[in-house]
Symmetry: C2
Subunit: 534 residues, 2 copies
Amino acid sequence: METNFTDALTAFQNALGQENVNTDNSLLKEYQTATFDTKNSVLAIVRPNNTKEVQQCLKIANQFNIPIYPISTGLNTGYGSRVPTVDQCVVLEMRRMNRIIDFDENLAYITLEPGVTQQQLYDYLQEKKSKLWMDATGSFKDHSIIGNIAERGFGHTPYGDHFSNVAGMEVVLPQGDCIHTGFGRFSNAQAAEVYRWGVGPYFDGIFTQSNLGIITRLTVWLMPAPKYFQSFYFSVDSHKQLEKVIDLLRPLRLDGTINSAMHIANDYKVLGAIQLYPWQQANNKTPLDKEVLEKLGKSWDFSVWNGSGALYGTKEEVALARKKIKKQLRGSVKKLRFLDDKLLKVAELLQKPYYWVTGVNLPEMLKILKPIFNMTKGIPTDAMLASTYWRKKDNIANMVNPERDKCGLMWCAPIAPTSGKHAMKLWGIIESVFDQYDFEPAVTITLLTERAMDCVIAIQYDRSIEGEDKRAQACHDKLLKKLTDVGYYPYRLGVQSMSGLPEPEEAYTKFISLVKASLDPIGVLSPGRYLKNK
Amino acid sequence: METNFTDALTAFQNALGQENVNTDNSLLKEYQTATFDTKNSVLAIVRPNNTKEVQQCLKIANQFNIPIYPISTGLNTGYGSRVPTVDQCVVLEMRRMNRIIDFDENLAYITLEPGVTQQQLYDYLQEKKSKLWMDATGSFKDHSIIGNIAERGFGHTPYGDHFSNVAGMEVVLPQGDCIHTGFGRFSNAQAAEVYRWGVGPYFDGIFTQSNLGIITRLTVWLMPAPKYFQSFYFSVDSHKQLEKVIDLLRPLRLDGTINSAMHIANDYKVLGAIQLYPWQQANNKTPLDKEVLEKLGKSWDFSVWNGSGALYGTKEEVALARKKIKKQLRGSVKKLRFLDDKLLKVAELLQKPYYWVTGVNLPEMLKILKPIFNMTKGIPTDAMLASTYWRKKDNIANMVNPERDKCGLMWCAPIAPTSGKHAMKLWGIIESVFDQYDFEPAVTITLLTERAMDCVIAIQYDRSIEGEDKRAQACHDKLLKKLTDVGYYPYRLGVQSMSGLPEPEEAYTKFISLVKASLDPIGVLSPGRYLKNK
């Protein structure tokens, strides 16, 4: 087998057209840049326009033994952005493949390609005057729907566990073959879009968080817009209270009273969503002093932990759920508030008088509240972009490109059974590690499913400051080590932590190596991504 | 590689103890007998007691090149019972592995082995005074929970799509290695039982409807018992009306008003659940005359199509759902009735007077209604056993062993998008085929998920009558052919129809062959089961 990059490049150009094969140095640099330090260089960026061209790319990769690293739109911010897991890859970007293939209002599904973004899907549904809602993830408007699903990302509505609400993948395998999963392997199948298991082994899962294939098409299920919608908010003043609240919420999540992913954000997290680092109040010192944080909490009206969730249904159904939540949380939280479209409009009208009377900065608060409120209705937002600039002092005029602007962001998101006891253990580990490294632990605990919670921890810093990359990485690694040492494993990995988990049982390593080798004998597809190459 | 059965037998005996390796002819014959004609012989039955022994069995199988066919409790009735997919297998029965490993009332899960039956799990929950419900499948009390999940079977509660409600498999691979999926591959994982995806590729699906591994342990999620429960029933007089009703029900299933698998059974299906073939009224003729059917429908109080479903929640929540269902179905169905525990008790008390007044045979009807009512509450039943004796005239004193008693039963269960149009197409195909073969089409249309319905068709006959096996098989094959010709594929296959589907796309066949070969190089595990051996 030859490894000849020049010949490979010619082959890519012949297959995709010269304009879709890019080796421009400044562009390569962009694709080598994440929100944390990475070393891997990119050889070229290739941009296929359709599945056939993806297949051709993989055949070329196999022919010339060039590793291929597929991305959808490349907004995997905080997990590595567009940077490959190994050095000297060709990045295959599917931004051009942005077709909406099929849409069924009655059966509530849409079939799309990896280039379709959150905003594009939202606009499409608006344009069609559809009565269906998509689920939006907390990432950006230009985030790929399929990219997020492939990483098993999540959102805010009852369809929030994204991979639970898809069917019928089209997948290009590492050697260039194209398959359709489920019933879709039969060309005349009627139910490929509505029934995910198909007949025979169910394979979809092996193409998520993996390097066993490239998803080039997928059907996403959509949610019927509820007749009525209400979000709710509460807060607690201490970690001890959080412990109790999580145990109170678990039965409501289990019995479906709350049937969507609800989030409990700590003070740092809320502050970071509202404003940048308060340099002035903090006398230019980091990490943020707890007294300053508390003061800001009072002026912004947030507490140590701040819950938000949403109720979907008819007005009567929502009223019943509201009653149950009120009864369950009574006395255990402060300021349990419910908000609907009508009340939000009133708040917008009254924001100035509210400020005069209460001193709480409602206008500013609404700037962040409204996008979050909308997100629980499946409306994508870029409002979270600004929070990646948390510790930045420069480049904050136009906060749209965290990678370019040297924002530092690393996620670590361990899963635990939904219980107060586990929340306390997690928080104990987080606090001890962050104290050591002097970052602010911005944390959200998401009650992701009926039984499991995802504790999403952000390490935020300024990459322009010498040594910070290293310190942040050390903080991340220590955190991951301490968490996994006691059995809390992340639901997803960043490119810098693909080898950061302890060795699993030996038989499992052997098993995945066998499967990988059978589909990708020379290992050209995303080497090192989730599956280690042996 | 040697194929020496005598030496293999000695090895099995050394591994499991002599008493757990059986080659007794009369027993082998039982294991070679299904509810339809099968030709494959069984070499021996081996009964491991734990995962280690399952591993040993597979190592022996590989050493001596003996195909192994695993079953849990072997009640795959109508799909092949305990009969292997190829000739000359050793059946590996996991009945002895019936341990309940772990149970968590708060997080609502239970971890169990393949030998645990529906009844055993139900009794366990009762004994623990648990406030959790299991989901029961319409099969028998002794049916294995894991066996049903591995075939992606379904039940009646909101947890009815069984494979959607499991996590953390322990799997023995074809060459004898044992792996744990999801987070379970890390021995200290905290969330393996509550979060199914784990981190990295999600593999669980490839061990369902497959021959890629033996599930030896699994965590099943349980449902919090609702505060209140009500089932509902309706009927329609014509196929045309069914078309409309399905389109009316779809939005209720989609928006969660009905959040469990609901069933619509045709007249033949209901009659078969109530009584055996009405030989006397039919003057001993088959197939059943439509006029006789209609008369029986009047006296038993069923119609052409008969729906049943259930509502779970608080009393107020159920009332809201009931209101929506009433409003939606008003004028389109007849006799929409709701039933709860209280009303059922009253009916039991009043059954005789009811009979005197209405002439409807309530006492007999309750015999079948009550088990169905209970099943929607997760209580397993053997009430469906009798229906497998539909066309039998002899051996009907003690209807507990359809295989022994030569009952003929074959299922064919195609999936379609939930819509009236598809229901009509399915019914058209079913009717035309059954008319040709003179069997009664006993059919249930199950609104299995939000978007997909499963049309479960039974071919029922008497295996003691010469030629009937052949005719039933021809009917099944014609049905499957006509259904798949227009794109309706079954959700599951019987042992006699593993090769009955058309060829899928070539790349798919290549793909599964590669995966199978990587895990089972000499093909010892369930050859021909779902995955064809190449």
